[in-house]
Structure formats: C-alpha cells, structure tokens
Amino acid sequence: MKLKKLWTLPIVAMLITLTLTGCGELLDPDEPGNLVPRTVAEDPLLPRIEVNGTILHAEAFGDISNPIIIFLHGGPGSDYRAFISQIGVENASRYPNERTITNGGLSQLQDEYYCVFYDQRGAGLSPRFDKGVVDFDMYVADLDAVINHYLQKKENETGIGDDQVYLMGWSYGGILSTGYINKHPERVKDVVMYEPGPFSKKVWDYFIENSESPFAQIGEDWLDGYLLSHDHITSDTHERADYQRILGAFRGQPEFNQNPNTPLWRLGAFISNENLDFSQSDNYDITSNITASFQGRMLLIAGKLTEEPYPEYPDMQMSHYPQAEYVAIAGVGHTGLWEKPDEVAAVIRNFLTQ
C-alpha cells in the first residue's frame, strides 16, 4: 500500500484552494459595512447616546419640555426603524439628514411629546455583544439609564424636574416595558404596548398552544431560501449571523399577519438567540410587583388580524395590570404600527390625554 502517495492528495487539494482564493481582491463577509450596516461603534455619523457603560444608537424628536415617551422596539435584536418609518411615505435612512420627512411613523407624536427612540444593546445599529454577555437585567438597567439620561437632559435644558416618563413597547419591547415597570413602578406614568410578548408562563403556554407549528412553513419560498443559504454562509461571526437571520424577518409566523416589507436596519442575531430564554422557564413571571405597586395605566393595542388566532391573549396580558384598556386596529397584524401609524398615533394620543 502506497500510503505516502495517498497523503499527497490533501496537499494538492489545499494548493488548489489557495490558488483559487488568492486570485484578485475579495470582499470580506465579516467586515462591517459589506453585508450589513456598521453600528455606532464603527460609523461616527450615526446618532448616539452614552449610558450605562455603553453607547447606544438613539434619536429624540420634539420639544423636550413636553412629556417624554420612550419607545422600545421588538425582537429582541430588532431596531427602531419601523417606529419612525411609514409605509409608502418614509423608509427612514439610518442617516437622519437623508430622510425625506422628519416626523414619519410614530415620531409624528413629537408635536405633543418628546419622543425618544433607541436600539437596545446588541440590537439594530447599537454595538454588537458576544453571546452570554447581555441579559434581561442588563436591558432593564439600560432602559433605566436611558430614562435618567433624558430626564436629566430635560432638567438641564428647561429646568423642569420630571421624574416620570411614558413607555411605548412593541412585541418584545412590551416585555421589556413590563420588566422595567415591575422593578421601577414609580418611574412610569402610563404604558402603551402594541402586541406585547407574553408576561408570564401561563400566557406563554397559551401563545404556544395557539401558534402554528414551524413545520407548517415547509415549502414556503422564504424558508427554502433561508435553509439553502446555510450551505453558502455559516453564522459563526456577528456579520454573517445577522445577514442570515434577517432572511426570516417578519416571515416566520404567518398567524402574526406581518407585512414582510417592514423595514429594519439590522437584526442582531446573537441577541435574538439568547435574550428570551428566561421567558421559557417554568416560573417565568415578570409582573409579580405590578398589581400592588404600579399606579399608572396600561393600553394594549393589537391588530385585528393577530387577535383572531389568539382571542384570549389581550385579556390574559391585561390581567397583569391594575388598570388596562384594549384597542384593536382593523386590517393589520403584528406590523400594524408601521402600516397604520396615523391610526395608532391617534389611539395613543387619545389614551394619554384622558
């Protein structure tokens, strides 16, 4: 047996590979900016704040002497682009000076409120973090720091010493709002949520029971492309993982009736993989302190199309709050605040001025 000759074969294969990859200038899939946008850590032109030991991608709109609303996006891992975009009108470039209007989407509330938007740690255009670094407590601490940052700014610029804000959370942002209120009930005047994620194990179980199996999507074009793309790109780095994850954005759960054209800047794959893990534990409940301690009101907004597969969901969620109201928006699902921002903004105005 000529084993020595056998060992030449891998060497030849290696030479072929080196020859092919050595030809010409090749782009690097792991270099920020090639496949996915740079974050505030890499792009000095992006708006930002520095809080709680990190920088976050953030913007604020309106007169700071007005009441403050902090908007919390979904995901986890998504960003605030859909909050300030509006279907058919404005798609919110990541550079503010490239936008065609400055009051798109729910940022139209800036005529009565000081509207604050930020991308959560590891999400959107905020800097990336490796697996195992970020947890829910850190998200709550970040939100507390963002609130303090803007209340202090308000006091510095206007002399008004507010100690409360309004929160508006979408999907996972509703979970974050509730987790924050559970820990700091005195800091929030009222809270508005658009289709918040489950607050407790009981609601989570209901949600799972009424959701379609992922296997029901087999054969869908987006899923076929998503799966096949794994033979082309593997997700070991942040950039590749983000690039691959966004293939499933607003497509994976048909019962949510999401509009797949809803814009995003970046879907933070590493964050979206780990930050909801705590919600699947048997004793998951982020509302233990709310009924006794929260003096404010909660408004739950949902799309009628999402309400249909989960009819008991709104009541189950609202039962965790001492004062809660419910409004359904016709003709939309989970991305309804991007599709019908004028209608959603009107509902929010009406609730907050009651």
Binding site: A13, L20, A241
Partner: protein, 221 residues
C-alpha cells in the same frame, strides 16, 4: 507528473453519498442514483458514479458527479453540483475507513440576495462493509472558499442600501457528524439512509435544519 495530474483530476472530479462506497467492491462499473432528503432544505439529487482503477494508488476509485436541487424551487438557481472521488484508505476484514473528497458549486436565490458558492469538502466514513450491506459513522467537513453575492432591490430598500455586491472570500465552513447504512438487493439495486447533525466550523449551532436526513436509491450496471 502524470500522477500529479491524475491526483488533481480525482479531486476536481466531484459529492458525498457514501453509500456509493458499497460499489467499491462491485464488479460492475456504473451506478446512477437518486437521493431525496433534507440537506439543507428539501432536496432531490441525481447522480452518477463510475469505478476505475488508479494504477499508482494500486486500487479502485469511485468517482461521481451529482446535481441536487430544491424540491420546492426546482431550478439551476437553487441547486448544487458536486464532483468527487471515494477512496478506500484502510481495510481489515469487513472494517473499512473510506475517504470521500469533493468540490462543489452551488447557487441560491433569496428575497435578500443571490449567492453562488464554491466549496471543498471531505468526509471520512468508518464502519463495516459487507457485500450486501454496510453501516458506518461519518465525519464531514466542508469549507466554503468563494462566494459571489448580489443583493436584491428588496434588500437595499428594506434593510441596507449600501450592501456590497461582488466576490467574497469564503463565508464559513461546517462539520457534520452522522451515521449511515445501506443494503444491496439482487446485486443491482442499492438503498441508502443517512442522518447527520450539522455544526458550523466553530461548533456553533448550524442555524438551519438541526438534522440532515437522506434516502438514496442506486442501480448498478
């Protein structure tokens, strides 16, 4: 020099259906085959194998070429071509170590981007091979060494307007660990089943289907 050229051809010739290893002992020389399964999506694959002797190696080599496409989006745009060579590395009784080296070129279209990829893969199978059946464990590594990526208008409008189109150096690699087995009926008809668990090359979750499953059928002549 001719040995070197032959060796290069062996590696440029291309896939991975390791049941073809069973044909290694076959007096027949040709086998077309069909494979269906999930790897990485629901795929159907058409292949052809041919045995030939390589003098300087003093043994028989099974070369193969196969083309697989998505079952739901049957097209060249969502397919992969593989060329490979299978070689017996070690043998003692029915126990064998078999190596399968391949090159592949694939294409995928998504709503965000179109990609062409070029990869090199190697699979080692260790198991028991009898005349009418075999069972083996497998370890496979595939390195993507080149991608051509072009973004769609949808991706630019909805997510990232400044995405770069062009040739990218390899976008990763993957391992697969699996078991496979197969049998031969009437010395002509082969059936083959394999199940594999994929990981990225850094042993992170693969992210797609957690298991790959294939069922293959072959005919010898």
């Amino acid at each position: 020099m001719k040995y070197l050229i032959t060796a290069v051809m062996l590696f440029v010739v291309v896939n991975q259906l390791s049941a073809q290893t069973i044909i290694n002992d076959s007096p027949t020389e040709n086998r077309p085959y069909l494979r269906v399964g999930i790897e990485p999506t629901t795929m159907i694959t058409f292949g052809y194998q041919r045995n030939f002797n390589v003098g300087f190696l003093n043994r028989k080599v099974t070369s193969y070429a196969e083309w697989g496409t998505s079952m739901y989006r049957f097209s060249f745009n969502n397919s992969e071509l593989k060329l490979g060579a299978i070689l017996l590395v070690f043998e003692k009784g029915g126990f064998k170590v078999v190596n399968n080296l391949n090159l592949s070129a694939g294409s995928v279209t998504t709503h965000n981007f179109d990609s062409k990829k070029f990869a090199v893969g190697d699979e080692v199978a260790v198991g028991f091979y009898k005349k009418s059946w075999f069972i083996a464990t497998t370890v496979e590594y595939e390195k993507i060494y080149l991608n051509r990526i072009e973004h769609t208008e949808f991706y630019r409008a909805t997510y990232y307007e400044d995405a770069e189109d062009g040739w990218y150096k390899g976008a990763g690699g993957m391992f697969q660990f699996g078991i496979e087995g197969g049998g031969t009926i009437k010395r002509k008809y082969d059936i083959h089943l394999e199940i594999k668990m994929p990981f990225t090359e850094k042993f992170n979750s693969y992210g797609g289907s957690p298991l790959h499953l294939n069922l293959g059928f072959g005919y010898r002549f």
